[in-house]
Amino acid sequence: MAKRWKRIAAAAVAAALAVGCAGGKSSGPGDQNGGKILTITLDGAQGRQAELQAVAGYLKQIGVDAQVRVWEYNTLVEEAKAGSRDAYATDWGSSTFSPFDLAIPKLKTGDRGNYSHYSSAELDELFDLASTSVDEGEAKNAYFRAQEIIYQDAPWIFGYYRDTIEANSVKVKNWKPAVDGRINLHKVSLEGGDTLVVGLRADRILSLDPANYRDRETETVIRNMFDGLVTRTPEGEVKPELAESWETPDALTYVFHLRKGVTFHNGEPLTADDVVFTFNRILAPDGINGQPSPRQGLLGPLSSVEKVDDYTVKMNLSSPSPVFLQLLVHTQIIPEEYYNQVGFEGFSANPVGAGPFRFAGGSLDTEISLERYDDYWDGAPPLKKVVFRMMPEPASRIAALKAGEVHIIQEVAPDSTQLLEEDPNVQVQVAEGTRLYMIELNTQRISDPRVRQALNYAVNWDEILQELYGGYAHRVSTAMLPSGFGYHDGLTPYPYDPDKARELLKEAGYAVK
């Protein structure tokens, strides 16, 4: 009932706001070359408005009646899912460097992120094969074929990914931005000081409990306090952390050998019991204060975890998963005994992990202070104290960095990089981003693939991206990221070819200009 209520209200709001937004195939007055005029409303949040205006400009040039409408993002997503809009600027992040959490949820029939309502039986089959095959060659081939289908069917106006731009004081040594956006400070040092301040882009982080959040800023802070079985290099490669080594006796089993001599911040040794407890807590339907953990999905097909001996853990999967190790990076081990002593609230207030820094104080909406853990298994960090400060306004982060109050800042806008580069005390650094930006098309309303291809040919993306993001945004050919597994290098993004676009539109029976 609540759902229906909401739909009715949304419809009322939409009706009240509807000014000149027609459906994808509404028939306008005929042109001299016959056919009806294609009318499309491009929807998007404020941040994409400039881009959509430019896209609309290109579409108008070939005779499409294109409008832009600005939305609050989550409202738009709701409308897109309900199927009531034509085309919408959306974005989707990937954390496994695989189409597993990007192309698949976005384009598999009926999947959670499939806002374009796209459906192809052949593609679904290829996705199923690729995401469960442990034969790398076979998986890659399936993904290649999948990208060819997506390219042809063009369910989106394919977009781009942006670089992660971060900046730091030149006094910061041994740090660079990571592909996954995390800021790992274990090996970082600060010239002339031992307290480093990071300006996080977040308003607040959500929790200090490693099983109770689902955003990257929280993960950045937590990851400096907690270690996982495996971790990632700044380039995105999985490498051992608390697990020294592992083997896979079959496609459904992983056996991890834990590092010996690792201790939590309270001095207790880390053993297989802690690992089993950590994973069971996330797997349980009521692990987080009676509710499911928001990190359940990050365990993939993991079905159970067993202790073999004090330093060996066996994990059983319900289906083969080539991205399992990449997923494991996101689970951090907590001490069973301490957690049971202090409970959910006690643990969130005073978290204890086995990472390079220990919790020292602060609050989630202001700043979190950490201090060096001297007995860290991989050597005590050079920094004595680390402060993560919440600084949601980009211009203020830059001011704070220039004023010397913070040493590393997240998310610098492309048009601010020049200003920062002029400052000799500051260094701008870049890593490849893992979020895809695109304009999804409602394939039910714009059902002719020729029309969707035409829309792709009609837009001069290189121009738009250069204008808006300088050199900090890069086109992709379909729905996958170059940093992800199985990216098809042979496909080049749709070229800007307005004549080809007109031709395709005409073929599909639309008027062109």
């Binding site: 609540a2 209520w5 909401k6 959500l206 929790s207 509710q291 999905g297 609050s363 202001t366």
Partner: protein
């Protein structure tokens, strides 16, 4: 008598606040967007089952009327529920954010009054003088300047270029003060931490100036015009004829009577101030209520928004009451 009236006003305020929150409750649920979906993030590897089970455990799958009942029952017991995103009790979040916002708002109001009163009075005493012209054009500028821009300009000048004042937060990085009231100026004094008190004051100056700029401008213009009006009254002529010193005439006889419109404006503007907080809080990384509620609205974190609106409502009602009480003090002809 006055106390009875105040108590009566407080009692009628309660159902009003409850009504406001209930309206918020339904409006929120009319808003498109799904809190559970948003909490899980726009990324892959979340299954529909996962989302459904979370929705169920939060009670969001139940009919709206049911949810309203649960909410009201909790409200009566002082329980505002838990944040959907962080599973933290809402009262906990509010307890942290409210003092930060109030401290900033009060500082802004105090600063405005301290600047606007003398400025307005001096302008009124010498209307159309050079001082008057300069100050009133300044006030005009103050009204037209967007706080977002003003905040960044102040920050660039005083933090980046001059290095006099900090850019962000309520204290320097890594410094904490044990919480007693949540008001840092009070807490540092109560625990005798003078260095931290100084820090807190320095951190407060730029955000308070930014937040209070508009109010200062409005207030000084209102003080000026109402002073001008009062200065022309018969009783001022009488006071002067009595041979009173001019400063006595201005401060005792004119100012107190001229304050009534200013107090009205102050009460009204306090609401605008609390609303404008969100921008200033974001620019200066100030962990207050404005940021909390805007963040919660975008995330459709219903319980947090409801709790914050309740607080806003109560604050407004209290401020209004305070304004009315001030009236009776300023002008005994007015009754509660």
């Amino acid at each position: 008598m006055r106390w009875v009236a105040i108590a009566r006003r407080l009692l009628t305020a309660l159902p009003l606040a409850a009504g406001i929150v209930l309206v918020t409750f339904f409006l929120l649920r009319l808003m498109p967007g799904d809190p559970v979906d948003i909490a899980m993030g726009a990324a892959g590897n979340v299954t529909q089952e996962e989302i459904d089970s979370l929705r169920q455990s939060l009670g969001l799958d139940r009919p709206v009327w049911d949810q309203a009942g649960v909410f009201l029952y909790g409200l009566v017991r002082g329980d505002l529920g838990e944040s959907i995103r962080s599973r933290t009790p809402v009262t906990e979040l509010l307890k942290q954010a409210l003092p930060a916002t109030l401290e900033l708002s009060f500082a802004a109001v105090l600063l405005s009054v301290l600047i606007a009163l003398p400025v307005g009075v001096m302008s009124a005493v010498r209307p159309r003088s050079l001082w008057d012209r300069v100050v009133m054009s300044g006030a005009f500028l103050g009204i037209s300047m967007p706080p977002f821009w003003l905040g960044l300009v102040l920050m660039t000048i005083f933090s980046v270029m001059l290095g006099w004042l900090p850019t962000s937060g309520r204290l320097d990085a890594g410094v904490t003060v044990p919480t007693i009231t949540g008001f840092l100026l009070l807490d540092t004094l109560l625990t005798g931490r003078w260095a931290e008190f100084g820090q807190a004051v320095r951190h407060l100056i730029l955000p308070a100036l930014t937040l209070g700029a508009e109010l200062t401008a409005i207030l000084s213009r209102v003080v000026r015009s109402s002073m001008l009006e009062v200065m022309g009254m018969d009783y001022i002529r009488t006071a002067r004829a009595k041979g009173l010193a001019e400063w006595k005439v201005v401060l005792r006889h004119a100012l107190r009577n001229a304050l009534i419109p200013s107090v009205t404006i102050l009460g009204l503007q306090f609401g605008v101030l609390m609303g404008g907080n969100m921008i200033v809080e974001t620019i200066f990384s100030w962990p207050g209520l404005g940021r909390l509620v805007v963040d919660a609205i975008f995330a459709r974190d219903y319980p947090v928004v409801q709790g914050a609106v309740l607080l806003y409502a109560i604050t407004f009602l209290l401020i209004n009451l305070l304004v009315d009480v001030l009236y009776t003090w300023l002008s005994p002809r007015i009754d509660l």
